[in-house]
Amino acid sequence: MLSVKNLEVVYNDVILVLRGVSLTVPRGQIVALLGANGAGKTTLLRALSGLLDIHDGRITKGEILLGDRPIHGWDAPKIVAAGLGQVLEGRRVFGEFTVEENLRVGGHTRRGSLTDSIDEIYTLFPVLKERRKRTAGYLSGGEQQMLAMGRALVAQPDVILLDEPSLGLAPRIVQQIKDIVVQINEERGTTVLLVEQNATMALSIAQHGYVMEHGKIVMDQPAAALLEDDDIRDFYLGRGELATSYRDIKHYKRRKRWLS
């Protein structure tokens, strides 16, 4: 459904951020993309949704296919209209708009009446219906995340990119968000590319996972396999129960990277 081949992205003409990234998101699946901060996950999403140029970035190599259409080099509105939606990191609801206005903006690329699609969103997120006339800026973090997802869904995308939906949310809310992602995927058949720091959460619902590091894909395995991988557990998933306490880490361990 969505495939990226050998993608290179450069910022400000000099900083090479993606160094030949390839991945595939099959139709109807949830695919997780993991990686530390600065690994290039957000850059990859920007490249996919055509938001690179406002950050002075440029695709210098490679291609992106949505279905069988090459969409690299398209601008964001065209990509959205082609059926690829994105929920940006940090939610970014229009704080001064009402909930309903936010949803209407989400349907910008659609012609005709939006009433039906917005009603569908309200069924999916009943809390948004309760708050439809409220100013979005006053919603709680979790509600804002739901609004952001709802807003992207109004456009009825075939593929949706979710950038760190769990960021800064309490565990209880993260659980809810997780359920909703699964629901969207199952009920609407929407293909999902889920970018997360919270690997446990992402891998628990994804079929497949990629791990990025320094602008490259370093691992590419079924989600279940990744969950089992010890390195991944230790490095990206937070430390396992057997790990030593921070208090016991010796100075030399901290220094090792600088010595090499």
Binding site: S49, G50, L51, I54, D56, D75, A76, P77, I79, V80, A81, G85, Q86, L88, R92, F94, G95, E96, F97, E101, R104, V105, G106, H108, T109, R151, A152, A155
Partner: protein, 298 residues
């Protein structure tokens, strides 16, 4: 008392012009976060479009104005496309200086067209007087106030209900997010400039229909809208209208009463009265009467 009411009425109708111009500034500011110093040139060009279409080509006033508004909108879009689009994302003050460059270029071209003679748009039956309650107002001024009112209502409807209006507000709040919703931000910028160009054309046309027409120095009128938008709040459309009217009224009252009441302020204090009002408003409300306060977040 009558003099007082008349001064307010005169100021109100003059303020309608400032309000139209201020709306243009606010439109561009909201969409692009730029103060456009090219508004004076747009006003002058708009007035000249009307002049050319009515006096030279012979269209009647209203169709002429409508066509001129389209031309003014196109001019605004052209300015945005040629001078500002390449600079998207650069510091706003760089953009502001660019608009000054644009203003210089456009006004020189307009001066070339005007030459030595003021260009006067004839408003049908414009000098007919209406009298009520001892106040008098010309037919032309009544038309100006009516047109301004219609414009304001139309703008409000546009922003509240039209898809493009909503998209425009969204873009004003956050460009990247707007892009991610499929909104063509470039088109929104162009639209903002087009609307500003159209508004400037209405203002310019009514200036050119005034007693002295449009001449090479008339552009300065557009600067009066600057204190107006600060008084109202840079990003507030109702603020622009109220600010524009307030500037007109304060100016008129100062012109009439200051020489007697406060002669120590010097001759022609009315010239700077809008700025004095602006200072007063800002002392109380640092973001204007209706402006959005930037929230301090850490």
């Amino acid at each position: 008392m009558n003099q007082f009411a008349q001064a307010i009425l005169n100021g109100f109708s003059q303020g309608a012009i400032y309000a139209l111009l201020a709306l243009g500034y606010v439109m561009i500011y909201k969409a692009t976060h730029v103060i456009s110093f090219a508004q004076p040139a747009l006003m002058v060009c708009g007035g000249l479009f009307s002049y050319h279409l009515t006096a030279q080509i012979g269209l009647p006033f209203w169709p002429g104005l409508l066509l001129a508004m389209i031309l003014g909108a196109l001019l605004g879009m052209a300015v945005e496309r040629l001078a500002l689009r390449p600079m998207v994302g650069k510091p706003v003050f760089t953009l502001a200086i660019i608009t000054i460059g644009v203003d210089i270029v456009l006004r020189i071209a307009a001066n070339r067209y005007m030459g030595a003679n003021p260009r006067i748009v004839t408003f049908p039956d414009g000098s007919r007087q209406y009298e009520f309650l001892g106040l008098s107002i010309t037919h032309q001024r009544v038309a100006l106030i009516a047109v301004t009112a219609i414009t304001v209502v139309a703008l409000v409807m546009f922003f509240r209900y039209a898809k493009a209006g909503l998209a425009m507000r969204a873009t004003a709040l956050n460009q990247e997010t707007a892009l991610a919703q499929g909104i063509r931000v470039g088109a929104i910028f162009a639209l903002a400039w087009a609307i500003a160009g159209g508004l400037a054309t209405i203002a310019g046309t009514f200036v050119a229909a005034g007693s002295a027409g449009m001449e090479q120095n008339t552009w300065i009128i557009a600067l009066k809208a600057l204190p107006a938008i600060i008084i109202g709040g840079l990003d507030s459309l109702p603020g622009a209208v109220i600010g524009g009217l307030a500037v007109g009224i304060v100016e008129s009252l100062t012109a009439v009463y200051q020489p007697d009441v406060a002669p120590f302020l010097g001759a022609n204090f009315a010239l700077v009265a809008p700025y004095a009002l602006m200072f007063l408003v800002l002392l109380v409300r640092p973001y204007g009467l209706f402006g959005t306060r930037e929230v301090e977040r850490v």
